[in-house]
């Protein structure tokens, strides 16, 4: 299991393939891979966004992400899990976060991937500051539950 904090733009597809290639013992043992990729949109809460800065707490952020992966590994039968999270200045269409879980069975892979993502959203120390189309800066105040209809 591995956690990466990434200060530069990254290609999530390449990251997963590279990580998976380094898991030779897992080849043909995992039947299920569940992946989530969070990508920067060019709007939020109805406002156009031109860029975003992701702040974090070096040391604690990695520790907390590692704890989340460990918790997932205790709750579900997973073979491996990998998280990459971007920090610094981010542009629309760039990847913010990648979560990948390998397991023998799909239920465990799906549940663990979702658990990691939701727990990351609510507990990993990252903070977004957006620059709107009009140049105004604002801190994003809180993460939502992730459904369109219930956005505040």
């Amino acid at each position: 299991m591995k956690v990466e904090i990434c200060p530069e733009a990254f290609n999530p597809w390449q990251a997963i393939q590279d990580y998976q290639a380094a898991l030779p013992s897992a080849a043909a043992k995992f039947g299920a891979t569940s992946i989530f990729i969070g990508t920067m949109r060019d709007y939020n809460d109805g406002v156009g966004v031109q860029s975003m800065t992701l702040d974090y707490y070096p040391g604690m952020t990695e520790k907390q992400l590692g704890k989340i992966l460990g918790d997932a590994g205790r709750q579900w039968e997973i073979i491996d899990a990998y998280v990459v999270h971007r920090v610094g200045e981010i542009r629309p269409d760039e990847a913010i976060v990648l979560v990948a879980v390998w397991s023998a069975h799909r239920g465990d892979a799906f549940d663990a991937c979702r658990f990691i993502m939701e727990t990351l959203k609510s507990t990993a120390p990252f903070w977004k500051k957006e620059v709107s189309d009009t140049g105004q800066t604002r801190w994003v105040e809180k993460n939502t539950d992730g459904y369109k209809n219930v956005q505040p």
């Binding site: 992701l54 040391g59 609510s122 120390p125 903070w127 809180k142 993460n143």
Partner: protein, 77 residues
């Protein structure tokens, strides 16, 4: 020795600093650290707190050399 206090994101901006040191005294809680470091500013309702890079509540006791952090709700992912 002393306690290192850190503030992140909007909370740090609001306070105008990202960290300060504080003399250690026996029996201080995380809440006491906040009060001493901010000269009694009210604690934001939704503040999150950590001691040595692990979540801790406001009543947690701190030790000499600890790093105590205050930050707003997280918005990663």
């Amino acid at each position: 020795m002393s306690i290192k206090v850190r503030y992140f994101a909007s909370l740090g901006e609001h306070l105008g600093r990202s960290e300060n040191d504080l003399e250690f005294a026996q029996g201080m809680s995380v809440k006491d650290i906040w009060v001493l470091s901010t000269s009694g500013a009210p604690i934001p309702d939704n503040v999150l707190t950590a001691v040595n890079m692990e979540y801790a509540d406001l009543e947690a006791q701190v030790q000499d050399g600890d790093e105590v952090a205050f930050f707003p709700p997280v918005t990663g992912g």
